[in-house]
Symmetry: C2
Subunit: 192 residues, 2 copies
């Protein structure tokens, strides 16, 4: 019942999601990312945008501590984590797939035959890319990247015992800035 699953963690703007989609297309298997968010939203009744954000905020972390009143016991973020855990496990049991983000590497660590990938790139490459893909914002692209990086690392640290971006947590890490997005997808596909 163990399926071959590719999990992709990624720095914001590195093209990890694009690489995931390309790999899945080339392999003829599904890729779960925003679709996964919609599924979670459907089950939980929470708004989709809220769930998208909850996937990047560590409850009780330095970003939320000042603005929230976290008491003992689970909060909404914990509830969403549980749902996400259950959904990702079910998706991996259903069949081979690519899962982007959402700590899938951690959730599936003992459950599926996983290829764990991390995609990153330098600030200049990512800054250029987020402006092209997501457009300009009031904050500088560098500020947006630093903010997102911090959130993802904090979320990962809160819910898993893995260190974000440490080579030892992954089978493969790729610098999409130097290797190129197409080449990254090719390498992952060749390992499947």
């Amino acid at each position: 019942m163990k399926n071959r699953v590719i999990t992709i963690s990624r720095e914001f703007g590195s093209g990890g999601r694009t690489i995931g989609k390309m790999t899945a297309e080339q392999l003829g298997i599904p890729c779960y990312d925003s679709e996964l968010i919609r599924k979670i939203a459907g089950e939980s009744g929470f708004d989709e945008n809220y769930i998208r954000d909850a996937g990047e905020y560590a409850p009780g972390g330095f970003l939320t501590a000042a603005f929230s009143h976290r008491g003992p016991g689970p909060n909404n973020a914990d509830y969403i984590w549980e749902l996400q855990y259950k959904l990702i496990t079910e998706l991996a049991e259903k069949g081979p797939c690519v899962i982007v983000g959402r700590c899938a590497d951690y959730i599936l660590r003992d459950k599926a035959d996983c290829l764990k990938v991390f995609v990153h790139a330098d600030m200049a490459f990512r800054a250029d890319r987020i402006v092209k893909v997501y457009g300009e914002r009031e904050e500088s692209p560098e500020q947006r990247l630093r903010d997102k990086d911090r959130r993802r690392a904090a979320y990962h640290r809160f819910y898993t015992d893995m260190k974000w971006g440490h080579a030892q947590n992954y089978d493969l890490t790729l610098n999409s800035g130097t290797l190129g997005i197409d080449r990254c997808a090719e390498i992952i596909r060749s390992l499947y």
Copy 2:
């Protein structure tokens, strides 16, 4: 004058050196490792074994502080670092090659068209491998690995501003334990 150079940093026992040699053979370019140590030894007049060890001890680090009397100014380790720096720069200028270890990734960061690779594997894989390759010792293989890992990380930290094993420092990191040594060499070759 910029040559294509592959630098391989590696955890002890991960097969990084073997992967470097295989890659170089497949590409028909030289691989520098113990040969490099001999070159440094030849130029410095230091004993070869001394130089091999000096490449893994951070001067003034926690391992040596208790036993050495480091005064101001360069010591032998610093002198060897300078030689190593000069030699690695010359080798990279001479032509395409693979260089294993010795902070070549850092030394060549602005000097050559480098593919920076880090190879790692889990404790069980490496413990098994060092006993097969280097034989049994009085200390357990796990103890030998922990000791070597600490030394290499400390040496790297002392002479470079790069964090050992952080994905962001490399173009590519590979888990030789899950991907296999042959497959790692293949991936590197395909990127050259």
